[in-house]
């Protein structure tokens, strides 16, 4: 089997294990290329369907095009879209763009905390109503016990230590030093009440694999990744105040693949355009422990 086929097979296997063993399962969708490939793989695993909710954490600082793209495909692919937000922080303007806090604290408030409380069901969730084609407050508030995430081992240091099925304790903490063993394709699918498990079907994929797969499968990907004629494109998507585009004239998936394989990005980190990574000198692991994806 070709390498991409093997990666796909492993991801599909993980999806099916997760779906079988977790009653309260959801998947995080950041609209970026990785989680969109993840979504595509879910459709592979479940024959065109996505039989669990897709949770999107909306910091309100996402590039507007991301929200348009999200809603378009949620409707088109019949996705059970659930949106969470730190409404209190946004209302109080406790954010980095408002000048009140630094970048890391902002990530923590708008992403990590929003995620944690959306998953636990403590904060309100909105759900896409496919009849009215709009988001409405959701009455369902059960906590999710299995959370599928598009993390890749090659992204940065802390992620390389991840398991496919990675337990989090009641405080959503990740104990890097004491993780369960994974023998062959047997994962930790039993967990104590109150804890939850992060599931990583993309762990073995590299950034290049992601683009090669997008090309092979012809996955519709948000246009922010391509140069719109200004000689710039996003390599990694985040909030607009903290993410800068890279210099690149790639306008197609094929051109991005070439760029990654042999071109200018072959030896430059993917997240180099993310300002918050630099600010904390490698402290992503601490945010990650708290649930930041």
């Amino acid at each position: 089997m070709a390498h991409l086929d093997k990666l796909e097979a492993q991801s599909v296997y993980i999806f099916r294990e997760a779906y079988k063993d977790f009653k309260q399962l959801c998947m995080l969708w950041s609209i970026g290329k990785d989680s969109t490939v993840l979504l595509w793989l879910a459709r592979k695993a479940f024959f065109g369907h996505v039989p669990f909710p897709l949770v999107h954490i909306d910091t309100s600082y996402k590039v507007p095009e991301m929200i348009t793209y999200r809603d378009k495909f949620a409707l088109e692919w019949n996705l059970n879209l659930v949106v969470g937000q730190n409404e209190a922080a946004l209302k109080a303007k406790e954010t980095f763009p408002d000048g009140k806090i630094d970048r890391i604290a902002c990530c923590k408030a708008l992403k990590a905390n929003a995620l944690k409380h959306t998953l636990s069901g403590e904060w309100p969730r909105k759900r896409m109503n496919h009849e009215t084609r709009a988001l409405e407050y959701d009455t369902h508030t059960d906590p999710y016990t299995g959370v599928i995430v598009g993390a890749r081992a090659d992204e940065e240091g802390s992620r390389s230590k991840e398991r496919y099925f990675s337990p989090r304790d009641k405080q959503s903490d990740w104990d890097v030093g004491d993780q369960p063993p994974e023998f062959w394709n047997q994962f930790k699918t039993d967990f104590a009440p109150g804890t939850h498990v992060r599931i990583h079907p993309l762990l073995d994929w590299t950034e290049l694999n992601i683009w090669e797969y997008i090309a092979r499968e012809n996955i519709p990907i948000i246009s922010l990744y391509f140069d719109q004629g200004e000689g710039k494109r996003y390599r990694s998507l985040g909030c607009y105040p903290c993410t800068t585009p890279v210099e690149s004239t790639a306008t197609t998936v094929a051109e991005i693949v070439t760029e990654l394989k042999s071109g200018k990005f072959a030896n430059i980190a993917e997240r180099s355009g993310r300002a918050q990574d630099k600010e904390d000198g490698g402290g992503l692991e601490s945010l990650r422990r708290e649930g930041y994806m």
Partner: protein
Amino acid sequence: MEQMNIVIVGHVDHGKSTLIGRLLADTGSLPEGKLEQVRQNCARNAKPFEYAFLLDALKDEQSQGITIDAARCFFNTAKRRYIIIDAPGHIEFLKNMITGASRAEAALLLIDAHEGVQENSKRHGYMLHLLGIRHVVVLVNKMDLVNYDEAAFLKVKTDYQAFLAQFGLVPAAFVPIAAREGENLAQWGSFPLAGSAESARMPWYTGKSVLDHIDDFVHIEDNTTLPFRMPVQDIYKFTAAKDDRRIVAGTISSGSVCVGDEVVFYPSQKRSRIKSIEGFNQPERRTAVAGMPVGFTLETQIYIRPGDLMVKAYPSDDVGRSSSGAESLPSPSIVASIPAALSSSSGIERASALSLSLPLNVVPLSGTTFKVSLFWLGRTPMVLGKAYKLKLATTRVTVYLKEILSVMDASELQIEKNRREVRRHEVAECVLETLKPLAYDLAVDFEDTGRFVIVDGYEIAAGGIVVGQLATETSAVQTYKAQRDASWEKGLVEVQTRQVMLGQRARAIVFVGERSSEMGKLLEKHLIENGRLAYYLGRASVLSGLGADYAGTLAREEFIRRLGELAHVFTDAGLIFITSMYEFDDAELDILTVLSQPFEILVVTCGLNPLSQRVPDAQIEDEVTLEEAKGILTRLLADREVVPEYFL
């Protein structure tokens, strides 16, 4: 570019970091300037340069968000890209070592020439064997510390070979190296940065360099030529999304299958034929092969479950066990007298294991009792009689440790007999028993369906391989029931007295199928109206009361046990106990049958018959009216003399 995952293992301080640093440097896989930078740092701080520092430097970099990562380093040879998977040498990190190694195709095992074979050299060697890593090269490192002496190398080689031979692991080679000096790592001229030549310091070594050896490893290709096996992962029907396909999903672990092929599901041995191969965003397929995640629709609607093993049907299904097949021994006590060494002679020589000579019609083994070799990682010891969860391929069943044949310390392989428990980091040959039969293979024949993990509480506490099948005279359920009956506190009233008083025979009546609860309630009402004493107990009632602690898949069998206990209490009280379930399989009905004894259970199927071997006592078809159903049930009760006919 072609890739291979490789794991580097060995005792603490036997030179893993140095080897990795050196491999990265010699293959030119370091970021530009990194080697110089580290050398300069060392010079500035007046400490000698070590290749191991390269790893530390990379770790620092990665924490600043740069791509290279120390837990998964990459290096390239002319042939392919290698991904080095992190595998700590310290015993406390054994589960990390296992996790890393089980993702690798090949392993380099380091032994310090000066210190010789140590505890973790042995433990890791055994783990590589258990995990089924087929490509192993042993590197005898730090030859510089023993003056490149051939005798020192041969001593380690001989010692370690003898150790590995105990369980039949044969490494591809032993290579004397000095990682720090680059001796025998890369061949002359291939890598301009390499400091090594064909070793001038070890002219007595005429074998290949480390990199040449690993480049020689051949990918274990998908087992397409083996008999077809697909552990059923799940059965999907996305009716809510207006999709009526009933899809049997899984990943093919070996062989190939075509649309139109007849297939058998083990252990129930239900049969059907493949109608279609389903997929999303892929061209229509007529054939599917090993490694592929697939979905099948079947021509007939048979009742199968996740965990069933899908196999291709051949005309002579009951023959053709391979020569390495089951130890069909009458009882485990006989097995206990077989030396533990037998497990190696029964063939876990991996290289030759997945023999192409396996006949295609080899059927899986099925049963409740089998012999395994397992490695215990749990914090609390594995003990006899405790319920654990077994995960073998996609099967999850309750399992008991029935007998410990021998326990070995994984580092010494010292064999101890007559043990009552298996402790952390020990290897045990033992007999496991499940309540329900499951389908499996011997690990020597099929990897995916021959290896398993054991879950204790919420944690994976062991990994192991199946080495033999055992037949048993008494099942675990029978043993359990005998113990229960022996300690039952009997009242002064015989059940016979109650039956006479109630004018009925105590029975458990089990309805199975789509209309089962409707029929169960109908019968209860009918009996009460006729003055009989009957009680209907539905699944939800059991679950919300006695089964309030129900959770997960383990609980399905526990649920069956509780239902069986209820059937026993009610029938012992002289009642007619009625229950219903959308689906029961034969094994579950067998458990209910045993638990309800001495009272018979009667099985009534409603609609599509989900049973395979068991013939129902009555059958109510879909189109039957309630009045007709009542007639069928009345006849059944009269025929079996549950209730004298004139009462109905």
